[in-house]
């Protein structure tokens, strides 16, 4: 691969001018004449039978156009689909209606939709709808939900177990029997709320004359939404256009299909008017997916010199009240496959129970499954180090897969593409000045101050692929990506990508790739995304896959363009194509660089088509669907340094060092930004954020007044650095950077805090490590 001028450059983002001047195209900015506003009446009860819905008062209000209940839509809207049907797990997918019909199963379950002339009136009308419920006992805890006598959500999901997924790789039983050291723990990986700053919403416009549905919505994957909307409404895909240009963050929460988009579409068709729906933050908190929420039982087998020989995990994953679009795959494949992490662990046994409870459905949240695996493993590594009196850095070094062994096939069957784990650890130790820090830790302890140093040496699977693997895992879609490169007669280029960035900066990164490939100015390149009418089918942006998969599709399509352009250039230069070279946007005859045509001249010629080489069609446009041969596996080492105030339990951050290896980097500025944001979210899980329910299923952290999304003052500055181990999986050698920070940081922070508390004999506290939890643990030890 030719490394040319823009690959590796921190090009300023082309998205920014519109976003810093208030001219972004977010969904709620779109206005259509005659639009009605929809608001959803949601259940305040976690589990109840709907006895009666009286909407007569609401219907009679001035400005109210219609009120729909679940019953009204049974024939007009199919249930919300589940698209990850994991095999061999006795999976049960209960019916999930956009508006609940007989029963509500979580606080926030929608029971009626109001449509009115403006938002204020719609809200007024919600209050006028009278719903009579027969309240049923609720169950929130997924482990207790599986026990006999627990309230049952569905008749056809006995013991609330929607699936039991197994992955038994290697011989754990012998590892356990022969282990010199055995560690067993119950770990909680608590529930989080994604909190994209832009809540979800949609503007659906059905034209009864043409039968076309156009829907602007907050989507990470417009084509997937088009497919699913077609499935639930019965409107053919060819008649649906989904547009999601600027999307205000997603973190996984804008992947699934939800009731709001479905209802807006169905009701627009019913009334023949545009319907806008936008959720409030409170709705976002109760009715947009949550993430994580595992109860994990872990057994770790090791030798006395610190070599891990096997790991066994039994996990109860809380799926919430219904199975969201990708939910079964998250706590199973995306979790279980990664349980040996960066280490050569030969026996991995995983059993996952997917459990339905009276809570908001869970699904993919930044990292999705991999943070749950990494936290578990990195916490256990620290516990093992403690048990053996080893340095946490050294126990990791001891267990790393050596760099000579790549590509490396894990016990769970993944093939790690490339890696040099020790290099990231070494670099991080150097950056943090480890030996000095340990000395300082000793000194401070003598003064009654508690400094802690925490490690996380993670590896992540991203660039999820290939499609055949997706099929084997039961994912109801492919994992490829598409791109069309359209060269216009002037030589300017439009690139249509199936990826759909919502903050990741692909309009810039992809343009850098194309500019390099074609040797044209970056300003001549337009990246188009987020409109199903303009783009071949695309899979969207999630799972740190856009560059590795979507970027590759762009490069491949560009190369096809180049190939055709070379033929045209050769024809114009009257030489054979083999005799033409292409450099810096010029086609020239090898050995005679003055005999040349610019890329723009060739583009013009392709459209004039006055004289084309034989067998070459006019125009200059190519499409490529790229299905990668493998996933990519970024890795790295994060070290967090904290000080804990033992009197109050308050944690302050001293330093945060991240050394990641995401392969080659197209735009370092953007990658750094991804890492920063990722760290912030993972750090927040360790100390600030948690979704708390009471035992009746009421969400106690239902607003930003109780759910602590970190503010600027609550985060440290991040020292980020990189090593570079390219992946052989794609022509860029790039791996993926969207989730590394989140995956790595939660255990790094937790390990730092536990390390700080080690003088008290504390070796574990479940996350989130809130001040009170820390204070209590210290109190208990102080007696």
């Amino acid at each position: 691969m030719a490394v040319t001028k823009l690959f590796g450059a921190s090009v300023k983002r082309r998205e920014d001018p519109r976003l810093i001047t208030g001219r972004g195209n977010f969904t709620d900015h779109i206005k259509l004449p005659g639009t009605l506003f929809m608001a959803l009446k949601r259940s305040p009860h976690a589990h109840a039978r709907i006895v009666r819905i009286d909407a007569s008062k609401a219907r009679a209000m001035p400005g109210v156009v219609a009120v729909y209940t679940g019953q009204d839509l049974v024939d007009k809207l199919a249930p919300v689909p589940c698209a990850w049907l994991i095999p061999d797990s006795d999976l049960k997918v209960p019916s999930y209606r956009a508006l609940a019909v007989d029963k509500v199963r979580y606080v926030g379950d929608a029971v009626a939709a109001v449509v009115a002339e403006n938002r204020y009136v719609a809200e007024d009308a919600l209050e006028a709808i009278d719903v009579e419920y027969e309240v049923l006992p609720a169950i929130v805890d997924q482990e207790r939900a599986t026990q006999d006598g627990a309230p049952q959500l569905y008749d056809d999901v006995p013991n609330n177990i929607a699936f039991h997924w197994k992955l038994h790789a290697g011989d754990f039983d012998s590892a356990w029997n022969q282990a010199e050291v055995k560690l067993s723990r119950r770990l909680i990986n608590h529930r989080l709320i994604p909190t994209a700053m832009e809540p979800r919403g949609a503007l659906a416009h059905y034209n009864p004359g043409t039968g076309d549905l156009t829907i602007w919505c907050t989507s990470q994957n417009p084509h997937v939404h088009r497919l699913l909307l077609s499935a639930v409404t019965g409107i053919p895909e060819t008649r649906i256009r989904v547009i999601a240009t600027d999307v205000g963050g997603g973190f996984g929460s804008k992947i699934p299909m939800y009731s709001g988009e479905m209802l807006a579409s169905a009701i627009s068709r019913d009334l023949g008017r545009p319907i806008k729906w936008f959720e409030s933050r409170r709705e976002n908190y109760v009715a947009t997916i949550h993430g994580r929420d595992h109860i994990q039982y872990v057994d770790l087998a090791a030798t006395r010199d610190g070599k891990v020989t096997g790991i066994r995990v039994k996990s109860y994953a809380n799926l919430g009240a219904y199975l969201s679009t990708a939910s079964p795959g998250v706590p199973t494949w995306l979790f279980g496959l990664m349980l040996s992490g960066a280490y050569a662990i030969l026996a991995v046994h995983v059993d996952v129970f997917g459990v339905v409870t009276n809570t908001t459905p869970t699904d993919a949240y930044r990292g999705a499954g991999r943070p749950e695996a990494t936290y578990l493993l990195e916490r256990m590594m620290d516990l093992l180090a403690r048990e053996l009196g080893m340095d946490p850095a050294e126990i990791r070094r001891k267990n790393f897969i050596p760099k000579e062994q790549f590509p490396y096939t894990t016990a769970t069957g993944l093939q790690y593409d490339s890696g040099n784990y020790e290099a990231t650890l070494d670099r991080a130790l150097e950056l943090v000045n480890y030996q000095q820090l340990r000395r300082e830790q000793e000194e401070l302890r003598a003064q009654g101050r508690y400094l802690g140093i925490g490690f996380s040496t993670y590896v992540e699977v991203c660039g999820l692929a290939p499609s055949a693997a997706a099929g084997a895992m039961g994912f109801q879609g492919g994992l490829w990506e598409s791109a069309t490169v359209r060269v216009h007669p002037s030589g300017k280029v439009s690139v249509f990508t199936g990826s759909n960035p919502h903050g990741q900066g692909e309009e810039t990164t992809f343009a850098q790739l194309v500019a390099d490939e074609l040797g044209v100015p970056i300003d001549d390149i337009e990246i188009v995304h987020g409109d199903t009418e303009m783009i071949p089918f695309g899979m969207g942006t999630y799972g740190s896959r856009s560059l590795a998969v979507g970027g590759t599709a762009v490069i491949m399509a560009t190369r096809k363009v180049k190939e055709k352009a070379t033929k045209i250039a050769a024809h114009l230069l009257e030489v054979a194509p083999e005799d033409v070279a292409f450099e810096n946007g010029r086609f020239f005859v090898k050995g005679a660089p003055d005999r040349a045509k610019t890329f723009q001249e060739v583009a013009g010629a392709a459209y004039l088509a006055w004289s084309m080489p034989e067998g070459v069609t006019p125009g200059l446009e190519e499409t490529h669907f790229h299905d990668p041969i493998n996933n990519t596996f970024p890795f790295g080492c994060h070290i967090c340094v904290v000080e804990v105030d033992a009197d109050t339990g308050k944690v302050s951050f001293r330093k945060y060092v991240a050394v990641d290896d995401v392969g080659n980097v197209v735009n370092p500025m953007i990658v750094d930004g991804q890492v920063h944001g990722g760290i912030a979210q993972g750090l927040a899980q360790a100390v600030y954020e948690y979704a708390a329910y009471d035992e009746n299923g009421q969400l106690l952290t239902a607003t930003l007044m109780d759910y602590a999304v970190p503010k600027a003052s609550m985060l440290p500055r991040f020292d980020v650095d990189r090593t570079v181990t390219p992946t052989p999986v794609n022509p860029m050698g790039a791996k993926g950077a969207g989730e590394t920070g989140t995956i790595a940081s939660t255990p790094a922070v937790a390990n730092a805090i536990i390390d700080a508390l080690s003088p008290f004999g504390i070796d574990h506290i479940d996350i989130p490590l809130t001040p009170e939890r820390i204070w209590r643990a210290v109190q208990e030890r102080r007696g």
């Binding site: 810093i20 977010f26 700053m197 205000g248 912030a680 607003t703 600027a712 003052s713």
Partner: protein, 154 residues
């Protein structure tokens, strides 16, 4: 009730319901959609505008309260096609990703720099507490404000 509000230098007179929030007045009546809504409890600051020169959350002000006031929104910050130094800082330092919190973040930073032309990192972080960003971890937002501070002092 009839109100007159000067927004980005232009006086607008409209009849509004008393319950209409300033942010809805800006977005829905004046079509200035650069001011965003990110929460309903006045925490996130996405809706921040300048009212009589001070940063306020336009979701926590009724339009009638702004009667007679001068409002600057993100659309009115750049002058004569020239980005405000804070806008420039956000672009230069990659202070935004999805861009949803950005208008509010920028408006707050403008108020901050009016008060403290040379803020420390700690002051920047403190003064931005009323604005949540979910993408950047604030690292580059701090650098963006530092960039702007330096530029404005020059």
């Amino acid at each position: 009730m009839q109100i007159t509000v000067k927004v980005n230098g232009v006086a607008h007179t409209h009849d509004v319901e008393p319950r209409m929030l300033l942010v809805h007045f800006l977005r829905d009546v004046l079509n200035l959609t650069g001011t965003h809504i990110g929460c309903d409890t006045s925490q996130c600051g996405a809706c921040t505008v300048l009212m009589n020169g001070k940063a306020v959350k336009s979701c926590t002000v009724f339009a009638v309260q702004a009667d007679g006031a001068e409002i600057t929104t993100i659309e009115g910050l750049a002058r004569d096609g020239q980005l405000h130094p804070v806008q420039e800082g956000f672009w230069e330092m990659h202070g935004l990703q999805c861009g949803y919190c950005t208008p509010g973040m920028i408006m707050t930073a403008v108020d901050l720099l009016q008060r403290i032309p040379n803020p420390t990192e700690e002051q920047i972080r403190h003064y931005l507490e009323g604005n949540l960003c979910r993408c950047t971890g604030y690292h580059n937002i701090v650098r963006a404000v530092q960039y702007a501070a330096e530029k404005m002092r020059a």
